[in-house]
């Protein structure tokens, strides 16, 4: 088979005609696509700001930890501020946690009693 034969055969390929409903089928999909709500964008701003806050805190802790042995007045002051802030945060967390835990336990108890009463056979 010569190169010309190959060119002739491959360039005179069969032509097909799209089905009669092809356009409407495509347009149906396009309309569905157009009417769909836009995808929710990824919250990059929140992610970046969250990472920045976490990094800032981590750096702050690291810096206060490293600087402690050679404390100047400024370092000592900032460390004191950090310690106080941490202590307050811990107290608040413990306080809030205790309240939440107690509340949850009471709620569980009430829920259990209520369920048992519902489930028990009435005489």
């Amino acid at each position: 088979m010569t190169p010309d034969d190959l060119d002739r055969i491959l360039s005179t390929d069969d032509r097909i005609v799209p089905a009669s409903g092809f356009t409407s089928s495509v347009m149906e999909q396009v309309r569905r696509e157009a009417s769909a709500p836009p995808p929710i964008p990824f919250p990059w701003v929140r992610l970046v700001s969250g990472i920045a806050v976490i990094l800032g805190l981590a750096l702050g802790f690291a810096w206060s930890g490293l600087a402690a042995p050679v404390a100047t007045d400024v370092v000592a002051l900032s460390q004191a501020v950090w310690s106080t802030a941490l202590a307050w945060t811990a107290d608040a967390a413990i306080g809030t946690g205790a309240v939440c835990a107690t509340g949850a336990l009471l709620l569980t108890l009430a829920s259990s009693i209520f369920s048992m009463r519902l489930a028990s056979p009435r005489v």
């Binding site: 088979m1 190959l6 060119d7 491959l10 360039s11 032509r15 799209p18 347009m27 396009v30 696509e33």
Partner: protein, 188 residues
């Protein structure tokens, strides 16, 4: 097919008039379905692939830069969709469309043999390694226009020329054996 019609329709679609996309579909459905058919040799699958290509074109319309003609961009998007689709599900089985119906007696034997040979050649093209297959499909689809094939594939013309040359070489090497092995059709 008019360039200005395409551009006008694109503007209308981008302006929020979704129905204007129908003009684009009507004008380009036949080329896109036929290009898909050359990639898969299955009419039903060709239509599905072309439908997916149109949907992709619709989504990507805002990214069409006016430095390329709309049809060039359209073929590039469609080619990309078809190649991805064939990577996902390669062609393998002989589609029902290609199974020959019984012929009436009296059909010339030579014509049948030519038809058989042509079909074998087209099937051999699909069996080529992907990069040669794609270059050859696009080259012949665009009436042997290398720049057009290169634009559709997003490749330099030199690369397309090299791939065409290598693809033809492989086919010429394998075709004699394939043509000799094909079943001979009995004519009455």
């Amino acid at each position: 097919m008019s360039v200005s019609e395409d551009e006008a329709d694109v503007e209308r679609v981008l302006g929020g008039e979704v129905s204007a996309f129908e003009g684009i579909v009507r004008r380009w459905q036949s080329p896109l379905v036929n290009l898909a058919y050359r990639f898969c040799r299955d009419r039903g699958r060709a239509e599905e692939m072309a439908q997916e290509a149109f949907l992709r074109v619709y989504r990507a319309l805002p990214t069409w830069r006016r430095d390329a003609v709309f049809s060039t961009w359209l073929f590039a998007v469609a080619t990309n969709v078809y190649r991805t689709e064939l990577r996902r599900v390669p062609t393998g089985m002989i589609p029902l469309d290609d199974i020959r119906e019984p012929r009436a007696p009296g059909v010339a034997g030579a014509a049948l043999e030519d038809e058989d040979r042509d079909r074998t050649v087209r099937r051999a093209l699909l069996a080529l390694p992907t990069k040669y297959r794609d270059a050859m499909i696009l080259f012949y689809f665009h009436d042997m226009d290398i720049p057009a094939a290169a634009r559709s594939l997003g490749l330099p013309e030199g690369t397309v020329k090299t791939r065409l040359s290598r693809g033809r070489e492989i086919m010429r090497g394998k075709l004699p054996r394939l043509l000799a092995a094909r079943p001979v059709e009995q004519t009455p």
